[in-house]
């Protein structure tokens, strides 16, 4: 009787171990369903998976296995906290990448404009500094002007609500550029003491 119970317990333990093993190996650690919200927000160890398993490329396509894996390509690039976790602006500044600016002309250089626009905001939030330089290193003027931003002082009504709804800065930020949850990246100019109120009214 004693021996039978002992064997039963041992068998039960083995069963449980096998069951757990099968459970862990049977499923993926993040959802493969393309319609799941935040499908790509995987834990750090599973970010930037190789093309055959990233849920985007056709795993059976002949080119998928030939593509360089993101982890290999991104290994030496400076890191960031969102998106594909690479700080691409810094990578360009540090000359770790040298993207081609023109499809047909390999020697083309971008027209970079070094102009900062400071937008004062109410309350204790630091003012917004918009740097043309970092944007024009990646984009052409026509990408934003005049369709998204009219190139004239006072002509653009920008608010966080508009940005969150995908207008103005939100056309890119939150989609292909860093999200608006990183406040300090834009709200970077500290206010002087006593300047939180509106300066004047006409």
């Amino acid at each position: 009787m004693k021996m039978t119970i002992h064997s039963l317990i041992k068998s039960g333990a083995v069963l449980c171990t096998v069951f757990m093993l099968i459970l862990f190996t049977a499923g993926k650690s993040f959802s493969a369903d393309p319609n799941t919200f935040n499908r790509l927000l995987a834990p750090a160890s599973e970010r930037n998976p190789p093309p055959p398993t990233d849920g985007i490329h056709d795993a059976n396509g002949p080119g998928a296995a030939a593509l360089q894996t993101p982890k290999t390509a991104f290994h030496d690039l400076p890191k960031s906290k969102s998106g594909n976790y690479i700080d691409w602006v810094k990578a360009l500044d540090e000359k770790k990448i040298s993207p081609r600016y023109d499809r047909l002309d390999p020697n083309a250089v971008p027209v970079v404009m070094d102009l900062n626009i400071v937008r004062e905001v109410k309350g204790s939030m630091p003012n917004v500094v918009y740097p043309h330089k970092q944007h024009t290193e990646w984009l052409d003027c026509s990408n934003c002007h005049p369709a998204i931003f009219i190139p004239q002082k006072g002509a653009n009504d920008i608010s966080m609500a508009a940005i969150l709804l995908g207008e103005k800065c939100g056309v890119c930020h939150g989609k292909v550029a860093f999200p608006v949850s990183e406040c300090r990246r834009c709200h970077s100019q500290k206010k002087e003491k006593g300047s939180t109120k509106v300066k004047q009214q006409k």
Binding site: A26, L115, N116, S181, C183, V198, K202
Partner: protein, 293 residues
């Protein structure tokens, strides 16, 4: 005997469980494959029966291209039968071959009309762009009132480039016309970039009227509520923090309603003060929700 029976029994149960548990995984993988092949078949069928490429090929006089289209249709039929019989790998191979064939055909019989239309549209957009930026430069030059700034834009060179682009467009050399117009765009963009080099433009916070300021305050309040809901989705915070945040957001609705009443009565100043206080509380909630500021 009992020991033997128990051991045998456990092994059998183990094997049965392993079999049962692996079945859903295997059938799930098969479902994925079937679904993928079905979608590819659907696309391939559209490509050879309904697509603009198919129409272009049939309208063309190119017998070789028409033969390639017929080959692709034959491959589609084969893939369809293989799919119906459950031979997904073979179906996929035929679909891949067929799509490659159609790609070759599509490159051979170019969609000339679409390309011309796109080039004409691009030309007009570039021309408008050059005009807008030329106006911007004039504004900057007037604002700075400096002859050196004026000289940054070579007006003669710009006009000549524009004229050349227009001439090429009229002659129908659209690709070259667009290339020339891009050069004109570069001229004016470089001029603005030089004129504004290292400038800092400040948009001061000032309002023409109390109504404007109230509108601004309303948008600011709304923004904070939207930001809080965004952060609550992205950040992990304690239940207590979450409850506090939700309480503030709920109370904010009353604040906004009160402000609206004052604004409706024409007392925008009071409405602004009420909203400012409400937004201050929301900024606390924003920090509790995980905003890093």
């Amino acid at each position: 005997m009992n020991k033997y029976l128990v051991r045998q029994g456990s092994i059998s149960v183990l094997l049965c469980m392993a079999l049962l548990l692996s079945l859903p995984v295997v059938s799930a993988k098969n479902d994925d494959r079937e679904s993928a092949v079905f979608n590819k078949l659907k696309f391939f069928s559209w490509l050879v029966n309904d697509s603009p490429t198919m129409n272009r090929v049939l309208k063309s006089d190119d017998s070789e291209a028409i033969k390639q289209l017929e080959n692709s249709r034959h491959l589609l039929q084969q893939a369809q039968s293989q799919y119906d019989e459950g031979e997904f790998l073979l179906a996929e191979e035929n679909i891949a071959t067929g799509i490659k064939e159609m790609s070759r055909v599509s490159r051979k019989i170019k969609d000339v009309d679409r390309v011309e239309k796109a080039r004409r549209k691009l030309f007009q957009e570039l021309k408008q762009h050059v005009q807008t930026f030329a106006d911007v430069f004039e504004r900057v030059a007037k604002e700075k009132n400096d002859k050196q700034i004026d000289a940054m834009l070579d007006h003669e060179k710009l006009q000549k480039t524009l004229d050349d682009a227009d001439a090429l467009y009229r002659e129908g050399q659209l690709a070259l016309a667009n290339h020339t117009m891009k050069q004109a765009a570069d001229i004016v963009e470089k001029a603005i970039s030089n004129a504004r080099h290292k400038d800092v433009l400040i948009h001061e916070l000032s309002f023409d009227s109390l109504e404007d300021e109230y509108d601004y305050e309303k948008k600011r309040n709304e923004s904070y509520v939207l930001l809080i809901s965004l952060l609550q989705e992205k950040q992990t915070v304690s239940d207590a923090s979450r409850q506090y945040v939700n309480k503030i957001v709920a109370a904010n609705k009353g604040v906004v309603a009160e402000a609206e009443l004052h604004a409706a009565d024409g007392d925008n100043e009071t409405a602004i003060r009420i909203l400012e206080k409400g937004t201050d509380k929301l900024s606390r909630a924003l920090r509790m929700a995980g905003a890093p500021f």
